[in-house]
Each structure stands twice: as C-alpha cells, then as structure tokens.
Symmetry: C2
Subunit: 393 residues, 2 copies
C-alpha cells in the first residue's frame, strides 16, 4: 500500500427535509454574510431557494444571490461572483445545486482570496492556499463535488475545461436530501449514476497490488449502483434507492475508495474534451468513453478486469479462460449503461468521428504520454475515441 | 434510510515512517505545548517516543510526558493528567499508543475544559461541549479510537467500565504507520482484529431495511479482515496485510460503515462487564461473546445472517434452507476466531460461569430491556453469557 493522507472534514447532513437546517450549519461554520449560488430556474421553481432563504433568515444571516450557473460551468460567471463577493463583503458561499454549481462556488471561493486571476489555479500556475468557506445543498447525485476538494471549470474562450484541487476548497458542510432528486428527469439521473461509477472505476484500475480494503470498498459502491440505478429509472420516487445512490455518489468521490494506490483518470480526461467541444452532459460522455477505454486497456491486467466482471456484474469466472470473463464484464457494463438510457457511441452522443483529430489536439498529449493504469500516447487516445465512435451492443 | 450526520474531520496520515511528521501536524492543528500520553515501556523501548519527541523538537514545540496508561484505562490516571495539563498550560494532547491510550487522552482532553468531575460525561450526567485538541500516533489496529468520537474508561472503584462520545473529541490527526504494528505479539494482533470485526458486526445487524450501500461497505471491511488477519498471524512482518488491517480498523469505527440505520452494541456492552471484572483483553472478550450473541438472536432475521454467511465467509446459500446457511456462518465466524488464537468460551478466557449473576447485575438492565437488533432482558443477557460459557467448536 502506498503512503497516503485521507482528509474529508466535510460534515454531511443527510436525509429528508435537512435543507431547512442549512442556516444553522452556515452559522456553525462561521458564515455571517452569504452568497447563495445556483443554476437555472429549477431551484427557484421547486421552492428550494425559498426554503434555504427562510433557513438563513431564521438565523439572522444576510445574503446575496447569484444564479445562472450552466452545465460545464464557465469562467465568466466565476469572475462575476468574485467581484460580487468582494464588493458586498461576503464571507461564506452556499452552493444550491449540483456539481456545476458547487464547482463554480469553489472557484469563486478561491478567487476571492487570491490577488491574481483565479484561472491560475486551473492551468497549474498557482496553488490554492486559501478560500472562503463553502457549504452545499445538493440537488443531484453525480459529481461528488459535495465531498471533494476538486473543481472543474470551462474557459469560455476556446471552451477549455480544466480542474483544480485542494483540501482548502472541501465544503464545510453538505446537505444531502434524496427527496430533492426525485424530480430529476431519467436522463439526468442516469448521467449522474454513470459519473458516480466512473469515479470509482478511475480508482479501481490501479497498478498497486494487495490493497484489498480499497478494492472491496470500490466494489461496495459499484454493486450498490448496479442494483439501485435501475430501480430509480423505473420508479423515480423510490426514496430508498435515491438515498443509496446519493450517499454512494459522495462516498465515490470524497477519497475513501481510492487510498493507498495509483489511480487512472484518463476516461475523465478524454471525456472532458467531448463535453468541452459538444457541451454534452459529462455523464453521457463518460458512458461513451469508459467502456471503450476498458476495451483498449484490459489486456494490461486481465485478472483485474475478470475480478470486476465477477464481483460487480456477477459474471461467471472462467478459470480456464479469464480473458473471456474480463471481456464479458466490459460488455455487461456497456449493456448496463444502455439499459439506463445512456448513449454508447459518438452518434448517440451527438459527436462526430471526424472531430477525433481536434479532440486529440485539445488533449495536448503531444509526443508524450498521459499517465495512468496504462500510459496513453496521442495515437492511443485517438484509438480509444475511434472505439467509442463505433461502439455497439 | 434513516436521516443521519456523518462527520469525520480527522486527518489520517498513513504509511511507513509518517510518525516523524507528527510535530508538523501538531503545529498545523494549533498545538504549542503538548502532553505526550502513552502506556507501558514498549513505546519507549521501540524508540517510538524518541522519534516523536524529535519531531516535536524540530518544530520548536515543548512537551510534558505522562505514561502508565493500562489496558482498560483507569479514571485515576485521567485525574492525574487533567491536573498536569492545568498546572503546565498544556494546549494539545498527543496520544502515542493504542485504544486505551487514546481513550485516556480524550478523557483528559474533555476533563481539562470542564469545571466538574470528568466522570459526569461517562455516567451521562453531562454533555461534552469542549475539549483540548487530541492527536494520535497509533501502535495497534483495534479500537478505532484514532478516528472515532468515543472513549471508554474504567472507574477503579468497583471496576465500572463506561463510554462517552462527542464529535468534539475526534482526533485532529492520526498517524497510522503499519510498520509500528509488526512487533505486536500474535495474541494482541488477533484481539485487535476481533475488535475491528465486532465494530462492523455491531453496525451490520440492523432492523432498517434497504440500506444497500452501508451493507456493502460493512462487508468490504469484514471480507478484508477475513483475508488479511491469518496472513499477519502467519507472517507478522507482512506489511501489506498489516496496512490493510490498520486502515480497515479505522474505517470500521469512524462511522462510515454505520450510517442511515439502527445499530446494535449489545455484544460490546456484554463484553465490557467481562473485561471490567476479569481485566481480560477487550478483543478476547468479544471473541467469546459475539458468536454467542449471534446464536441467541439469529432467528430474528435469518436472511440477514444467511447474507453474512454467504458474502463474508463464502458459505453456500441453501435456498431451500436459509437457516442452515445462517447457522453455518456463525459457526465459521467462531472457527475463524479460534484459528487466529482467540478464546471461544469462558474457560479459555479465564471467566467463570458462576459469576454470570454478578455480570448481569453489573449490566444494570433491571426489569427493563437493552435496546438493539433484538431487545435483551436481564434473563436474555444471562442466557447469552451461558452460551458463551459453554461454547465449543
């Protein structure tokens, strides 16, 4: 097992109706003047924003509002948020929404405390030393940003999507009410589930041996997702299934299922260029990329893929032909994604095979290799995109 | 799923040689004058204490020392520690040892900030509102106290063992170096492993339905323990196995495997009276009690015990006779405990069946019932002790 630090200081406040307590938690974690940050109209229409404001009012906490966060959140709104926070003396940012809103809130939080351009953190020019405290009221199980120290922002100029990370931007508290997710359309629910599974798979495929505990924790989350996702697709109001998925989404990405070993984030990397170029949902892009990445790399460690096939998808282990089990597991994963309504190739996603050179160019691999479970050259990445373009059941 | 809060703010610093960094973490979490709290001579003899002091010296942090913590740590030393902290202006307590040392450190930490008798917290007279910060350098994988908000102390007068808990006493950081556990005798290693498994089982047997994610996380830890414990019994220097067990011990008790549902702590409760009366190792007492408790309660939910048997111990599921699978699982658990050198009945533990009325009296159930998976009357507790007294393979 490799040496590691695990630090997840967020207080998770889980369950029915817990959003009415967010004022109390803002107070607990030192907020007195809040920026409520949110996306489109659904937080307003559903009455959630009214509840959040009432909760802040009850604690005598003042607030400003900034809505309009888009999926694949943009730098332009972040700059606006930073200016607003500075001019109004904001000391706490409350994100009401999903991963895009939380990531935008984190970007504002770090930007307010930094003299330079916040984009410095996303292009690797500077490290996040300080940030305003962030709280969350989560409305979709997907990104895991409610428990992570990460943020992904898209620079509108050139649609460049990049990530930044630090323990300093981990939310102080996150309210997780599964009931808030019952009104989500099936497509968004499935995109979220795909993202959650991808967060685990990116940690599951490792070159570090004998980290049994992390393997088993990964499988715990994956098995849960395989069971619970079809249940919510069939019955959107199934609270128990929604609750299992919501908590699985947090556990998948707060770090606990990835400790002590190397990871692989190439599927996320390859997907970022897809959603950057086509503005498609991140989960949908992952559904197209991840099984294709698996097909490209599985020979690197057939037994690990066979283990996944057997333990996660219940495939029979063929002891005389482990490769057939490994391949069957990847096939089952793609079938599972299709069964919950996800696209499985470029056409279904709205992408074009002709754009592959553009996608590869934007990845910026050059003559080098992308680090991971299997190191990938530019041509390897092109091949994975080609597999994804032509994939079928 | 029941509503819950999950809050585990401890920074875990895991791996080879990490104890040399503890000065830096004391500084990070605000300590400037430290009480180093430890047990017997092993922390001194092994050179660990010297390393810890060098690490504090390197940061210019001053310290006092208080050794002598016994297994089943006593109130008498806690009082001494509280006086010492007050007279020397201590602002941070660093526990170097296992669960007993950490629990004693937590008791001192809460006592220093409280005007009354610290025992008030353990007999339910008062709530822990404030405590000095505590840090940990862990030397045995067992109690999980390095990541928990709990402490168990024994009142010397009458040998009464009681627990107290609060998020305020969760360690700020815990250094976990698996190498420090390689020199542990096999018996202590096995006691620790039993305690870890018990922490998970106490959370596994629940009356709340459909919390798939928590079930699977529990099983992840249990499967890991079943695999890794025999490996370290056979080869005490197996670092990878030691590492898996050490991290499993933390995950087992920081709360993550118990969220969203009812739990059962009756095996711990019944064991506390055994180690209180006989001063036996907590893990050894649990090895005797827990399978006996299982035998007494399993009919309450045969399918849950069958699930445990199949998923944790790999028993064949007999679909036409699930009870036989359930019973087989309990049998396998007891055989497993025996195989790692644990006692399985009163005689092997050094306890006497004649004392059962005394044990039951000390439990203080009276005419009421102990809350849990199955509620237990005084007579039920006596019967579990009788099963434990006479157990065999």
């Amino acid at each position: 097992m490799d040496n590691f630090n695990f630090y997840s200081p967020t207080e998770f406040v889980f369950g029915r109706g817990r959003e009415t307590e967010c004022g109390r938690y803002v107070r607990k974690f030192g907020g007195s003047k809040v920026l409520i940050h949110y996306g489109g109209g659904s937080a307003v229409k559903s009455g959630l924003l009214t509840k959040v404001k009432a909760s802040l009012d009850a604690e005598g906490i003042s607030y400003e509002e900034l809505g309009g966060v888009q999926p694949n959140p943009r730098d332009t709104l972040v700059y606006k948020g930073i200016d607003l926070c500075r001019s109004r003396g904001i000391d706490f940012i409350l994100a009401v929404g999903g991963g895009s809103v939380i990531d935008s809130a984190k970007a504002i939080a770090m930007g307010v405390c930094y003299d330079g351009d916040f984009w410095d953190f996303y292009c690797g020019k500077s490290r996040i030393e300080k940030a305003l405290p962030v709280g969350v009221v989560l409305t979709i199980a997907a990104a895991g940003s409610e428990g992570s120290g990460n943020s992904v922002i898209t620079k509108e100029e050139g649609m460049i999507k990049r990530g930044a990370g630090s323990d300093n931007i981990r939310p102080r508290f996150s309210v997780l009410d599964p009931e808030l997710t019952c009104t989500l359309p099936a497509y968004q629910t499935a995109c979220g589930a795909t993202d959650i599974m991808a967060h685990v798979f990116e940690r599951y495929f490792t070159n570090t041996k004998e980290v049994e505990i992390t393997d088993r924790l990964c499988e715990a989350v994956l098995i849960t997702m395989v069971r619970e996702t079809p249940r919510v697709i069939k019955d959107p109001n199934n609270y128990e299934a929604r609750a299992n998925i919501m908590w699985a989404g947090t556990v998948a990405h707060n770090g606990i299922v990835g400790v002590g070993r190397s990871q692989d984030w190439n599927s996320h990397g390859l997907e970022h260029e897809l959603s950057g170029l086509y503005d498609c949902a991140h989960g949908a892009g992952l559904a197209v990329i991840m099984p294709s990445w698996m097909e490209f790399v599985y020979k690197h460690d057939v037994m690990r893929f066979a283990q996944m096939a057997e333990r996660v998808f219940g495939c029979a282990m063929h002891y005389d032909d482990p490769e057939s089990t490994a391949v069957e597991g990847i096939k089952r994963f793609r079938e599972f994604l299709h069964s919950i309504g996800m696209p499985i190739n470029f056409a279904e996603l709205g992408a074009s095979e002709e754009d592959i050179p553009v996608l590869v160019e934007k990845l910026g691999v050059g003559d080098g290799k992308r680090w991971g479970f299997v190191q990938l050259s530019a041509e390897d990445c092109a091949e994975i995109y080609r597999i994804a373009a032509r994939a079928s059941l």
